[in-house]
Symmetry: D2
Subunit: 102 residues, 4 copies
Amino acid sequence: MNVIADFCVVPIGVGVSLSAYVAAAYQELEAAGLHPQLHANGTNVEGEYEQVFAAFKRCLERMHEMGAPRVSCTIKLGTRSDRSQTMDEKVVSVEEKLGPRS
Amino acid sequence: MNVIADFCVVPIGVGVSLSAYVAAAYQELEAAGLHPQLHANGTNVEGEYEQVFAAFKRCLERMHEMGAPRVSCTIKLGTRSDRSQTMDEKVVSVEEKLGPRS
Amino acid sequence: MNVIADFCVVPIGVGVSLSAYVAAAYQELEAAGLHPQLHANGTNVEGEYEQVFAAFKRCLERMHEMGAPRVSCTIKLGTRSDRSQTMDEKVVSVEEKLGPRS
Amino acid sequence: MNVIADFCVVPIGVGVSLSAYVAAAYQELEAAGLHPQLHANGTNVEGEYEQVFAAFKRCLERMHEMGAPRVSCTIKLGTRSDRSQTMDEKVVSVEEKLGPRS
């Protein structure tokens, strides 16, 4: 089962600057072959369910290894059985509806 | 790694009534031994990461088996390395701060 | 427009214990007349859109007033134009599908 | 209070193709001056709290006007009182931690 997912991790108890943690999670997602796409409120990935959630676990473990005693995490995901669709195809599908942009 | 998670599933392309799907997901979570707690915007569970996410996968597969061509899903989760905490302890911890309720 | 929503607030930069913050947010939601229902991963409310989101803003302001330099927040919400539905009706609708529970 | 938010809307009861709805929501967010950034799992915006949530309400109303009897919506948002930060600055802050990319 293929999934497209958004992963957002918030380490708690490590102060106010979180970018080093988000970067470390990104590196784990990249090392797992999930083609991560960083955006302003999370990181998008695509892959097989087991592969994706094994990588998310590794990200959470990494947060704790980096010193976070507590981690809050939000995941949005979509699956389809009617057809396959990539992250880029999802975006293009909306952009086509928006029409030519100046 | 123990997790406390909120699981919310929205099958797409099966009409407007979703309660039979939410009930089926609940049954999968219960069968997996995750002590599901149904609430107005999702279902809370607790357990080991692998156990929880294997059950979530089974829920998604069940949605497709029931006829949903597409599924949207939102997961919130928390992990702690400083101490163990159950779902009930999380709620009690806030209720203690709220003080006696009329 | 009536909404049923789940509100989850994570103050950042205030240490690892968040229950006093969640309790303060609950009090704001209650003061706003939103009938908050605390659960293990958030707080559910129902009400008119403007009333709900004015209360959520007050919660965020309260987190900052309590000392949080940064706040992360997750909101899930549902609206219907086909019929009205309360939080309790949503839960009962699923419980009916589950059948008699031991 | 300035917010950076991710808005994800799932119209229910309108079939399996949602891109026309996501495009319509994007247009509402753009018309509201929120500089929307479309990504594979939602649309990011930034602005004043009232401005952002008035636009989200308009998006939800638009979904119902387009025929959706029910709408599910997920919002992630962040606020800071320690300093101002744009969406682009959030991404750059992580990219700097990642170092030079091939």
